[in-house]
């Protein structure tokens, strides 16, 4: 009887079984560990947590992680839009190869990516050698972290925006042109607003992924405290010292800031959807 209140009746079988499997696995794999983390935080107490997060080294690491993730995701927002546009609208030699390669960061293990980027951009690497005479250092600086995060975040914007561009009705663009709009005006005022929700989704996914990224960054970052030490690495360091409280504090801070950012992006998305007038 109670099930009838909680869900609309359906003739299809298997709700109980599939729902039970879903809930049991979700709880065991995801919710229970997260609850343990939050529980540990509650045991430590908010004042102590705040004090730990306020120490200079943790603050520097958190600031670096979020700053680098923002920079890389903003780059990916612009580059991903260009990439998706070119892949959908233009026909050129090698298009299919590039389209297939976009997913490389999903398929390539992050440690391999980090290793490869380090090999390329280290002072004696193929690209590092070219950049060194110009006074540019990428590996073992914050720029290296940006680079690694651009790599792992690249597919998100492309893959969310691409299907939306494919669905754009060209007649809308034609209508804009017949009304006398220049191409750039059409792109800005007609096409871009249609893409905004998808762009924001891709940006949010890339941001969430790059804030917590570890594997690809630690090889190229140099990992100097206060300079190139990302927050996840500091968690690992604290864990290796069995300082579980400090690790918990950093982890909870990362979760809180991530969720706040995702929430803000979500709100922005709802606003932009409403503005262009469809759900």
């Amino acid at each position: 009887m109670r099930a009838g209140i909680l869900r609309t009746p359906s003739p299809l079988p298997g709700f109980g079984l599939s729902f039970a499997i879903t809930l049991a696995m979700l709880s065991a794999v995801v919710l229970l560990p997260i609850a343990a983390l939050v529980g540990r935080g509650l045991m430590i107490g908010p004042v102590e947590l705040w004090e730990m997060v306020g120490t200079r080294r943790i603050r520097a690491a958190l600031a670096l992680s979020f700053r680098a993730a923002l920079v890389a995701s903003l780059f990916n927002l612009v580059f991903g839009l260009a990439l998706a546009w070119v892949l959908v609208r233009y026909r050129f030699w090698g298009r299919r190869l590039i389209d297939a390669a976009i997913d490389l960061p999903f398929a390539l293990p992050t440690a391999v990516a980090g290793l490869a980027l380090t090999a390329l951009y280290a002072p004696n690497g193929a690209f590092g050698q070219l950049l060194a005479p110009l006074g540019l250092r990428v590996a073992y600086t914050e720029v290296g972290i940006w680079l690694a995060l651009v790599f792992i975040g690249l597919p998100f914007v492309v893959r969310t925006v691409q299907p939306v561009i494919e669905e754009i009705d060209r007649e809308v663009e034609e209508a804009s042109a017949t009304l006398g709009a220049r191409r750039s005006y059409t792109l800005r005022r007609v096409v871009l607003p249609m893409l905004t929700p998808a762009l924001l989704t891709g940006f949010a996914l890339a941001l969430a992924r790059s804030v917590g990224e570890y594997g690809s960054v630690i090889f190229i970052a140099g990992n100097l405290p206060f300079q190139t030490e990302i927050a996840p690495l500091l968690i690992v360091i604290r864990l290796e010292e069995y300082n579980y409280d400090a690790a918990t504090a950093i982890g909870l801070a990362m979760l809180t800031i991530s969720f706040a950012m995702l929430f803000a992006i979500n709100a922005l998305q709802i606003w932009s959807r409403r503005r262009i007038g469809h759900a």
Binding site: L6, L12, P13, G94, L108, P109, E166, P232, G251
Partner: protein, 294 residues
């Protein structure tokens, strides 16, 4: 329709002004930019892995793969993937069935919770598992007293990998099954098919490509996961080192060729994944169109 299409093409082939595309110069500049940047960002790192692995010839890199520790790492990685991918497939199918075929309260919350691992750092996931099962939690102490080691042991690696790859297959299946609706399944039921038979002969054929696609992505991530596994594995050589962990250890020991040989093996796996995925997309483009976002 058939008359209009070639006429349209003829016009676009000639130099008549096209209102729905950019000026020629802008087009070339954009294509140039995109090709150059993907070359530097995607193709160059891939090439670098193989170049570094083969820096001292085939023999040296094969030797790097032949050590007992490397063998143990490869075996562990394969076993972990062989356990996590089917479990995630089971979860994905169950979650997609419950979400797409029924209406119940809290559905949006459930979808949000399934997506949760996407916004949790793998390192934080590993930390959460250590806090839950580590020696100084009550659950962990009880497990250790009963000779069940999870942290710094095989079950921990499996749990960490499961956490990180958790949404992968569900995320592929939910949109596809939502779009397909319930009518076909309901029709099969009225014709007297059992629930299990409906799933096997009606639902499964409809979702098989999305399922395969999800399994591929899930497998790639399961074999390549580094952050979460690094935290929980304890990095015991030959016992709890997966391939990515082994790569880091070798690299830190300045055994560059051995590290890059293992990396190249994983990169080959990534290339196979991409190849199969692209093939699927070209052949079943319309079926997969709904699932491209990730």
């Amino acid at each position: 329709m058939s008359d209009a299409a070639p006429a349209l093409q003829l016009r676009s082939g000639k130099s008549a002004p096209q209102v729905t595309t950019e000026p020629r110069a802008a087009r070339f500049a954009l294509i140039g930019c995109v090709v150059a940047l993907t070359g530097v960002l995607l193709f160059a790192p891939l090439a670098a892995v193989f170049a570094e692995a083969l820096a001292q010839g085939w023999r040296a890199s094969l030797e790097g793969l032949a050590s007992p520790d490397a063998h143990a790492a490869i075996r562990l990685t394969l076993i972990v993937a062989a356990i996590t991918v089917p479990l995630n497939a089971l979860f994905g199918v169950a979650a997609a069935w419950a979400i797409s075929k029924f209406d119940f309260r809290g559905k949006a919350l459930l979808i949000t919770l399934i997506d949760l691992p996407f916004s949790v750092s793998p390192v934080v996931a590993g930390l959460a598992l250590v806090l839950l099962f580590g020696a100084n939690s009550s659950l962990g102490a009880w497990l250790i007293a009963h000779d069940l080691k999870i942290v710094f042991a095989f079950p921990g690696i499996v749990l960490a990998t499961l956490f990180v790859t958790f949404p992968f297959i569900a995320r592929e299946l939910i949109p596809v099954m939502m779009e397909q609706g319930r009518a076909e399944e309901e029709a099969a039921l009225t014709l007297g098919a059992s629930g299990w038979r409906v799933f096997r002969t009606v639902t499964l054929p409809n979702i098989r490509w999305a399922l395969l696609y999800g399994v591929l992505l899930c497998n790639a991530r399961a074999m390549g996961e580094f952050g979460a596994v690094a935290v929980i594995s304890g990095k015991i050589r030959g016992e709890t080192t997966t391939m990515p962990i082994m790569i880091e250890m070798l690299y830190n020991e300045y055994l560059s060729v051995a590290a890059f040989s293992l990396a190249a093996a994983l990169a080959l796996l990534a290339l196979v994944t991409l190849g199969v995925k692209s093939l699927l997309e070209w052949r079943y483009a319309d079926l997969l169109a709904a699932t491209r976002r990730h």
